[in-house]
Amino acid sequence: MNYPVWQLSMGAGVLMAWVSILHVFVSHFAVGGGLWLVVTESRARRRDDAQLLQFVKSHSRFFMLLTLVFGAISGVGIWTTIGLISPHGTSALIHGYVWGWAMEWVFFFLEIGAALVYYYGWSRLDARTHLLMGWIYFISAFMSLIIINGIVTFMLTPGGWLENHRFWTGFFNPTYWPSAVIRTFGGIAIAGIFTLMTAATLPRGAFRTRVTRWNAGWAFAGMVVVALAARWYGASVAVWRDEEALLGAIPVLPVVAGWFKLGIIVTAVLALIPLLVPRVWNKGLVAVLILCGLLTMGAGEWTREAGRKPFVIQGYMYSTGLLESESPVVEAVGMAASAKWISPDAAGDSARLGHDLYLAYCQPCHTRDRYNGLAPYLAHWDRETVASLVPHLQSMRALMPPWYGTEYENAALTDYLLTMKPQGEAAWPTDPDRAGELAFRISCGLCHTVSGFRPLADSFADMDADEIDEFLDSAGDIAEGMPAYFGPPRQRKALIRFLRTMNRETAAAGATVAAVGTEGGRS
């Protein structure tokens, strides 16, 4: 709205995911790995274990190369990327938390300096001073995590900040502590994972077995605490407590939250292998463990990101940059008048207006046919359907930001969306069940689920096919916000069949049927 929008064909979220997941994995290693270095070095020196000390030294080189180069630069990369895809959100975060970022920068500065002194000091500093450098490194890295955690969690659960806009109220928000525990012990687990990798390059023998078990202890213990803290975290997110979001209001949320839980279990179980039978540990298993850790971390971050839809800062700013407090004004003046980056030509050019509205209000989260692609839906929709849906965008299940288009704006956006419709007739499933699911997903499933969020399972329980057919004719008159139904005969028939049978299937399959429409309607 306030800023131009980068038209990324891959989707802004995908670019952000690549940068952030890779960075977060390495940056947590930078914290947990720092603790591993000093604790293991202390242990080696205490026991006068030259072999272990040499292992720590050689691992520290890998540690430095990964965390100082990739970790540090990709951290700057997150800044760069969020500035590009969510300038309004970034601006709000640096205005509210510039001193938080500045404090974090001091620790970042110390962290980098201490890491270099620690590494280059191996052969120059005495043991006590060297260890002290390691502790300075770890404490700085940990403080960096502790500060960024406050700002990141603030975005999902700003808590009392929404009323008083005070720095520390938002910082120590409802998910601050569980998230801090997850991130700290996640870092410890990742330290174990990466040191298991270094250990797998050692020649087989007693030392490798010993060091493999030691590192596996870090990975396993870290994951156990992460599992416990994840439950605490979930219970701390107020907007998840009513379960709307988890039941399909945010379609992708239950999916990625499920992956996160599964990832924690699989990673913990995998870490048990080197703990219990270190002799079997090898490079192939390391690769699997790293991949699991990375995917788990990715799912966790995705859960957090998805969990605040449709906001950038929950309850304050929508992903389009619109402030919740500005909604009444936008409702009064319309969407084009509320956005700065609408071409002057759009005033007399409906096609230009549709294009610019799409860029300003849809592009921040959607693409044509990639991430959150619209083409798979548009393929099955005709003009009447799109026109009936556009005025009701904010009612949709992905919990979209408010849309207050004027009639002219709705028509312009409809026309533009139809330019994205794939050419030719869309493929339609021959299997009646799949056809029914698809028909549901591209119509009722946009706003409802079968038995989760805004459930329909009971609504059609006592209706026969003719009654449902009649109902669809008058769908647009049933309630405000309910669009009319314009599906062609083939879709209509499949939808009626689905609506008639879903109640029985729900009873048989339980809540799993709620997933219908969830998988296809990713947000």
Binding site: P4, F70, T80, L84, I112, D126
Partner: protein
């Protein structure tokens, strides 16, 4: 289209400190970043030149390139770390402009991150593997230099495009895929080259300082470092006076007028910069004649004065170019005094710890 209509509104949240405090921090941290960046980029270009000149392992040029390659990764770390803070304060004060220009050149701006990672690893490869790279050493170094020059070029593109508010609408409405650069701006090349040449000059002076430190410890290789460093400093400072004039002439007329008597402070700064630049060249030639006995402190202090002057000139030029489009007086301010104080204490403590750590390493190395 009236540019004012599309310039993003200031953030709804108030600034957490008065504008002058944030300005001061921006200029101060930018100065520190500039020192590190000059050491890095200037050092890299000198390394590349030395590597090309070096004939065999005993050639002093080869020795110089080896020595510089060893410290380059740490200079990257310093440059990046010290670059984060000014970028933060720039976004706080000029976010409306910087975010917009970044989006217009989206892929170019994003490329900085990817390119920097490869460039950074390139310096470590040079540092750790050194001559073991064999015939690949020069091409690898050349590639690393190009990558760092690319990063600088993108920064110059962005910091000039953020001021060209009249260009934004035509660019964006023609193509929103983030493929623009600011190549048609007459300021772009002189500004970029002025920065690169300045980096070689200041990097050369630091090299001379390193040579002096070696000589003090009785290491004869310091003589070559001093003469090479002072040569780079003098000649590149001389060239930079000419590039600086080009940069000045490329400024919009209104900005040029500010420096030509329209504004007392601006005129004084430009005059000071010009005079100090000429003095630095004269002193540089004089020091070169003195050889290894040359005293570097006065020229070091004068160079620091020149860098501060240049940063202030930049700031005045930025303000002059944005003109009425930038009105900091419209920003709401709600000072977070406690947080500012915590930051100040942490910063002082952090600098103290950093100095202590480096001193420990230095003392151990001396032993």
């Amino acid at each position: 289209m009236n540019p004012q209509a599309i310039i993003p509104s200031p953030d709804a949240l108030p600034l957490p400190a008065p504008v002058f405090v944030l300005q001061l921090l921006l200029q101060l941290t930018f100065l520190l970043h500039l020192v590190a960046m000059n050491a890095l980029l200037g050092g890299l270009l000198i390394t590349f030149f030395a590597r090309l000149r070096g004939r065999g392992p005993d050639d002093p040029w080869t020795g110089l390139a080896d020595a510089l390659s060893k410290v380059t990764p740490s200079l990257v770390a310093a440059t990046v770390t010290l670059g984060v803070a000014p970028l933060l304060f720039l976004q706080v004060l000029y976010g409306q402009f910087l975010f917009t220009s970044s989006i217009l050149m989206g892929w170019g701006w994003f490329s900085v991150v990817v390119v920097l990672i490869f460039a950074y690893y390139g310096t470590y490869l040079q540092s750790f593997r050194g001559r073991a790279l064999g015939g690949g050493q020069v091409p690898l170094l050349g590639l690393t230099v190009i990558l760092f020059l690319w990063v600088g070029f993108m920064f110059t593109n962005n910091t000039t495009l953020m001021l060209q508010v009249r260009k934004w609408a035509p660019m964006y409405f023609a193509d929103a895929r983030g493929l623009h650069l600011n190549l048609t701006d007459p300021q772009l090349w002189p500004r970029y080259l002025h920065m690169v040449l300045g980096a070689v000059a200041v990097g050369g002076l630091m090299l001379a300082g390193w040579g002096r430190a070696r000589l003090t410890r009785g290491d004869g290789r310091g003589t070559f470092m001093m003469s090479t460093g002072l040569g780079a400093f003098t000649w590149f400072t001389l060239a930079n006076i000419l590039f600086g004039l080009w940069y000045f002439l490329a400024q919009p007329g209104a900005v040029r007028k500010l420096f030509m008597g329209g504004d007392g402070t601006a005129t004084a700064l430009l005059g000071l910069g010009l005079v100090v630049g000429i003095v630095l060249v004269m002193v540089g030639f004089m020091l070169r004649r003195q050889g290894e006995h040359a005293g570097l402190w006065p020229v070091g202090v004068l160079t620091a004065v020149q860098m501060v002057t240049m940063i202030m000139i930049r700031d005045v030029a930025r303000g002059g170019t944005l003109g009425v489009h930038y009105r900091p007086e419209t920003f709401a301010v709600r000072t977070q005094a406690l947080n500012l104080a915590i930051f100040a204490v942490l910063l002082l403590g952090g600098v103290g710890v950093m100095v202590w750590m480096l001193r420990q390493l230095y003392l151990a190395w001396e032993r």
